[in-house]
């Protein structure tokens, strides 16, 4: 589904990604871990098409298409979803209105008819149940005055609505208490199918107790320095990132 080959990216003059290689297949969950500043969030942003970052080398193929050649909205329409670490506020625009606009833009791109109000509401009701979000929240201005947990839950609700093929969760666990974490993780798990895939970007192992990854990759100085299964995350938790750093220095 997603093939990243030798991806290099920089912001202004600073190189952040230094040759990432990664392949994600349908049905898989990959966790990207690493210390602060290792390039985890940059990788998520580059995949989503944020233009603050300049790709200097490498290629990314998504469902057989050149991802780097697409603008951000077309990547979304092709099925890439980024759950933001810091979801932005849009005053005066409700989540409902926002989702309706988004969904119809995506459907238009795919040559489908726009959803009428009834079908949209029916679909929304269903997803609300799935991700356990308070409906009154969805009628308020998008993310305005939301708590940290509400913002993250709203991201997962949007993910449920848009049914992406590849979901990238960028530090979705940051700022969540354990209950919120469980609700968010449950939502993500319920949305998993054999046809879609998830990339979980996180600093801590604890999220991976709830969203169990098939593969864990450790990012350090813009490169994947270690890959393994979920046990790798536990080992990291135990030994800390210094273990990786030390190992790298020795090498």
């Amino acid at each position: 589904m997603l093939k990243i080959k030798n991806l290099h990216a920089r912001v202004e003059e600073k190189a952040i990604l230094n040759g990432i290689n990664l392949e994600v297949k349908p049905g898989e969950v990959h966790a990207i871990m690493g210390p602060n500043g290792s390039g985890k969030s940059t990788l998520a942003s580059v995949l989503a098409g944020r233009e603050d970052f300049e790709v200097t080398q490498g290629e990314v193929e998504f469902l057989g298409k050149d991802l780097l050649d697409m603008n951000p909205e077309d990547r979304a329409r092709e099925g890439i979803f980024l759950a933001f670490q810091y979801p932005v506020e849009i005053p005066g625009v409700s989540t409902v209105n926002f989702m309706k606009t988004a969904l119809n833009k995506i459907r238009e791109y795919r040559g489908q008819d726009t959803l009428d109000a009834v079908s949209f509401l029916t679909m929304m009701k269903e997803k609300i149940k799935l991700v356990e979000i308070d409906q009154s929240l969805l009628n308020r201005s998008l993310n305005e005055g939301f708590s940290g947990g509400e913002k993250k839950r709203n991201e997962i609700f949007q993910m449920a609505m848009l049914e992406p093929k590849l979901a990238i969760l960028d530090e979705t666990d940051s700022g969540l208490d354990i209950d919120a974490l469980r609700i968010v993780a449950n939502g993500v798990n319920k949305l998993r199918t054999k046809d879609n895939a998830t990339i979980v970007v996180t600093h801590y192992q604890r999220l991976l107790d709830y969203i169990v990854p098939d593969y864990v990759h450790v990012l350090y100085k813009g490169k994947i320095v270690k890959s393994g299964t979920k046990e790798l995350a536990l080992e990291l938790e135990e030994k800390g990132y210094d273990w990786i750093k030390d190992e790298m220095e020795v090498a």
Partner: protein, 481 residues
């Protein structure tokens, strides 16, 4: 230039949609302004002597006045002798009904999306259509007449209801009020008149549609609305003009008069030609709008969506004379390219327990300048007066300007006056967030701007709210940042 600015720039460089002209044969006065021209206008309209005198008095006063220089707008001096003050589409006979209106005129309004054919109107909106200096058609007159409502062109009101016109003309905006009001009083050519009798709730939206068609012509219309005790009316005006390289002057006067427990809701969607991308051409929109809440418990509400004109200078105001009367001002003013706007309101609290509410949303893009100027004046006898003002500015790109000039004068200690102001920018973050959900840049800006202006847009009658939303998006198209 950052990516952000590029997007904004593209978004704000969309062309004006109503820039076409129609070849209407017109009957015009020669260029220039003097007493003979005023006599010419008055004679053209077969006006009574008192009105001619009223005009001449205003003109003589105007010649002693100076153009105001205090607004935060800049333009070359206007040559008032280079303007045509009267231009009317030629019609062979004065139409007695819509069937007799020149089909070309009906087509003109149809092109603007305005139907002058009553049976095709489903929404129940009565329209007075004004081209250049004259009203060409008023719809639903008979139906409204059954309720005692008078809705007609100003010229007709002068002919048919002289006592009402004489009583209220200039009662809210006196002819010597300000430079442009005086000019209008001298040369006004048409406009709408509306009278709602005691206890009547007007069952449909009344609206006037203004169109400047002829070149080198100024438009000077006057609107007068009188709402008798316990009556209600919602009124809407819309305006467009062709694209022309020279600037055209529009100096209108609107007067609202609300008696005891009456309510007048006045909405404007102003889309005069704003000039081209380089600031060439466009309408100078110098307008005086004022309403008086003369009776106790009366209410006047102004809502304006200002997207057009190269320069806008207007302050729809409320004089809250009656006790417990209230005034509202809801405004969205968008400027793009080289547009300049200096707009806001005045709330004059005279009566006891008077209330006012001001919500102003400015949006600046391109190289435009957008100023809010508002006054809240609470007079000595206005016990327990309340005011709430909110003035927000949204900036798109880094070459535009937003300014706020609030004036607050309080002469009574029991007053409560609140003023809130914010300035924000459409962030790259917001746009990227939308894009990541599949919404392209232009749609994202439209969404964000409409969200920002929502509090004002929701005040508009429903049919127009949708139009206004589209207009906002269109005005800013090509300008993201």
């Amino acid at each position: 230039m950052s990516k952000d600015n590029q997007v904004l720039e593209e978004f704000t460089s969309k062309e004006y949609e109503h820039g076409w002209t129609i070849d209407l044969e017109s009957d015009s006065a020669p260029k220039g302004l003097n007493e003979d021209i005023i006599r010419f206008i008055s004679a053209k309209k077969s006006e009574p002597e008192w009105l001619l005198e009223w005009r001449l008095k205003a003109y003589r006063h105007w010649t002693t006045m100076k153009e105001p220089k205090w607004p935060n707008v800049h333009y070359p001096e206007i040559n008032f002798q280079d303007i045509i003050y009267y231009s009317a589409p030629k019609q062979k006979v004065v139409p007695k009904s819509l069937d007799e209106v020149d089909p070309e005129l009906i087509a003109t309004f149809k092109k603007l999306g305005i139907s002058l054919t009553e049976q095709k109107r489903l929404t129940g909106i009565a329209v007075d259509a004004v081209i250049d200096s004259v009203s060409v058609a008023t719809t639903f007159k008979e139906k409204l007449g059954e309720l005692g409502i008078i809705f007609c062109s100003f010229s007709e009101a002068v002919r048919e209801h002289p006592e009402l016109v004489k009583k209220y003309l200039g009662s809210v905006v006196p002819p010597n009020d300000n430079y442009y009001a005086a000019l209008n009083s001298a040369v006004f050519t048409d406009g709408s008149f509306c009278y709602i009798p005691k206890g009547v709730k007007c069952p449909m939206e009344l609206s006037t549609y203004f169109r400047i068609n002829a070149a080198n012509t100024g438009q000077f219309e006057r609107t007068l609305i009188v709402a008798e005790e316990a009556s209600y009316v919602s009124y809407l005006e819309g305006c467009t003009a062709p694209m022309r390289d020279e600037n055209q002057l529009h100096a209108a006067v609107v007067e609202l008069y609300a008696m005891k427990s009456a309510e007048i809701k006045y909405s404007t969607v102003q889309n005069w030609y704003p000039g081209d991308k380089n600031g060439k051409g466009g309408i100078y929109n110098f307008v005086t709008k004022r309403g008086i809440c003369a009776g106790d418990h009366s209410k006047i509400s102004w809502t304006q969506v200002e997207t057009g004109s190269s320069i806008t200078w207007k302050y729809p105001s409320c004089i809250l004379k009656g006790d417990y009367s209230s005034g509202e001002f809801y405004s969205v003013a968008v400027t793009n390219n080289y547009q300049q706007a200096d707009t806001g309101t005045k709330m004059i609290h005279i009566g006891k327990h008077t209330r006012s509410r001001i919500v102003s949303k400015g949006i600046s893009a391109g190289k435009s300048q957008n100023s809010y100027r508002g006054q809240v004046h609470i007079l000595k006898r206005a016990e327990n007066a309340r005011n709430f003002s909110q003035c927000d500015s949204l900036l798109m790109g880094d070459q535009c300007g937003a300014h706020t000039f609030p004036y607050i004068d309080v002469e009574n200690k029991s007053a409560h006056v609140e003023h809130e102001a914010t300035t924000s920018k459409i962030g790259e973050d917001q746009i990227f967030y939308c894009q990541q959900r599949g919404i392209d840049e232009e749609a994202a800006v439209a969404l964000i701007v409409n969200g920002y202006a929502k509090e004002v847009l929701k005040q508009l009658p429903m049919e127009f709210a949708v139009e206004a939303q589209k207009l906002l998006a269109l005005t800013l198209e090509g300008s993201v940042g």
